[in-house]
């Protein structure tokens, strides 16, 4: 069983998709990294992403790592956010055969992992087909 400190530390990005914006070049940054990957200026101004994006690529995982056995098979994706950055997440509320590259998706908050029967439940972002 691990301590909940890591989930707590990541709460803003995991629950609300809070990244950063570079004051110098205007690049939107997710996950937050404190130094702009485009112009290398310090970038620590919080920026809340819309949660809308589209599928860049996807895969269905049949052989999960330890800790994810009960979820398998599940579908993971690279999602290009409409503000520019890409992130890695699971897809939800969709059958694997319905997923395609370019599919519009939106962020929802879901359980992403549990630490045994008595451990901490980690919540975070997943993406589902966009509603309207």
């Amino acid at each position: 069983m691990s301590l909940p400190s890591k989930n707590w530390r990541l709460r803003n990005q995991r629950y609300r998709l809070v990244g950063e914006i570079c004051e110098k070049c205007g690049a939107a940054i997710f996950p937050p990294r404190d130094v702009c990957p485009e112009c290398e200026a310090p970038a620590q101004t919080p920026y809340v992403f819309s949660g809308r994006g589209e599928v860049y690529s996807y895969s269905t995982v049949y052989h999960p790592p330890a800790g994810f056995e009960k979820y398998a098979p599940y579908t993971v994706a690279l999602v290009r956010l409409e503000e520019g950055p890409m992130l890695t997440a699971q897809l939800t509320d969709v059958a694997p055969e319905e997923v395609h590259i370019g599919m519009p998706v939106e962020m929802v908050t879901r359980q992403i992992q549990t630490d045994g029967d008595e451990g901490v439940i980690a919540y975070g972002y997943k993406f589902r087909p966009r509603m309207g």
């Binding site: 995982v61 052989h63 999960p64 330890a66 599940y74 690279l78 890695t88 997440a89």
Partner: protein, 385 residues
């Protein structure tokens, strides 16, 4: 800087070594390399390893291996760069000898993976990726490569079966390598039928979890010139890095660190890709082989798979790869792989590759990749004589 030569090589068979642990695997490989080099003492030992702590509960391999091998007192450290750990250790050995800080250096790559269960090994290998932003979402290392393969197929219009030649070539070559894990031919039909791991990557796209150790002995090239034996010189040694997470890359289908590392190596060796006689690339998955061929300048963007379909990657082709089986058929004991690749290049340049000998091989390149392309280490070896 001094020219550096590889004066000895050694390796264990790759496989499931139930009777051998990290120490015994290391010892077998390093004693073979020291015998081959004809040396009894070394100035330093670098041990490339990724997962000894996670999978066997043992860290501190520098001192552990040195002591077990009867080298107590020698300078020794473990070097870690995910699946690139083996070549990273060689890089440090090269720096020490080229810089004149040591004369005879022993480099060992070792991994012991079969003491853990499948899901444990899968979780451990994922440590090469971004723990908070990739792995926390259930991504395995296979899944990350699957995302790349799916996008590659989409952008360039390839079908799944177009990737089969990488596996077929690797397994055909592994048949003739006594140190390879698999001695089993793969047919296009078997590839098409293989069990899916993370769609579209199936079992026969994937290199196997395995145990193994490989070793080389380095020394100043001047020491062995004029000895009558071919001098295998390290003509280039170059490391480059990229983002650990795939989603942070400008274009995920371009392995920027692989390109940087390869082109730095070409500059150091003062050659171009057209002069390379064989390329031991990092075919942990078929898609990585395709992307590596493109990054290193052997194929244009989107044409790595085409090169394989055209038969140019076999020992008789334009740029032979995985000549002794590669990661796919020789096996992929992760921290040892980078050293196995270099050992195999030396076998080719010495003319000791048996049925898989690339005719007149004089220039060989090995490229070891950590993670999904975040650390890439390229070595070019040239036979002088």
């Amino acid at each position: 800087m001094r020219d550096v030569a590889i004066i000895g090589i050694g390796q264990t068979k790759v496989g499931e070594h139930w009777e051998k642990d990290l120490r015994h695997l290391s010892l077998e490989a390093l004693q073979a390399a020291m015998r081959d080099a004809g040396v009894e003492h070394v100035d330093a030992l670098y041990v490339g390893n990724m997962l000894s702590g996670e999978l066997t509960g043992q860290e501190h391999l520098g001192a552990l291996v040195a002591d077990f091998a009867g080298l107590r007192g020698v300078e020794a450290v473990k070097v870690e760069a995910a699946c690139g750990s083996g070549a990273a250790a060689l890089r440090l050995g090269y720096v020490a000898v080229a810089g004149g800080l040591a004369d005879v250096v022993l480099v060992v790559g070792v991994e012991k993976m079969t003491d853990a269960t499948g899901p444990e090994a899968t979780a451990a290998l994922a440590m090469a990726a971004d723990a908070d932003h990739e792995v926390a979402h259930g991504l395995t290392f296979v899944a990350l490569n699957a995302l790349l393969m799916r996008r590659y197929m989409y952008e360039y219009g390839y079908k799944k079966e177009d990737f089969a030649p990488f596996t077929i070539n690797a397994h055909a070559n592994g048949m003739n390598n006594p140190y390879a894990m698999f001695h089993m031919k793969v047919t296009p039909e078997a590839y098409a039928r293989a069990r899916m791991i993370a769609d579209p990557i199936n079992l026969l796209d994937s290199s196997p979890v395995a145990d193994g150790a490989a070793a080389v002995v380095l020394a100043p090239a001047d020491w062995v010139r004029g000895s009558g034996k071919p001098v295998i010189r390290i003509a280039a040694s170059a490391v480059a890095t990229d983002t650990v997470a795939i989603h942070d890359r400008r274009d995920p289908l371009v392995l920027e660190a692989a390109a940087l590392s390869a082109w730095r190596a070409y500059q150091q060796a003062d050659i171009g890709p057209e002069e390379v006689d064989l390329f031991e690339l990092h075919d942990a998955f078929s898609i990585m082989a395709a992307l590596s061929l493109e990054a290193a300048g052997f194929a244009r963007r989107g044409e790595g798979v085409r090169l394989a379909l055209d038969g140019e990657i076999t020992p008789q082709g334009r740029i032979p790869v995985a000549t002794m089986g590669g990661l796919k058929a020789r096996g992929h004991p992760v921290g040892a792989t980078g050293v196995y690749q270099v050992v195999e290049v030396v076998q080719q340049l010495r003319g000791e590759a048996g049925a898989n000998q690339v005719p007149d091989a004089r220039v060989g390149m090995a490229q070891n990749i950590g993670g999904s392309g975040a650390t890439v280490i390229t070595h070019i070896l040239i036979r002088d004589c």
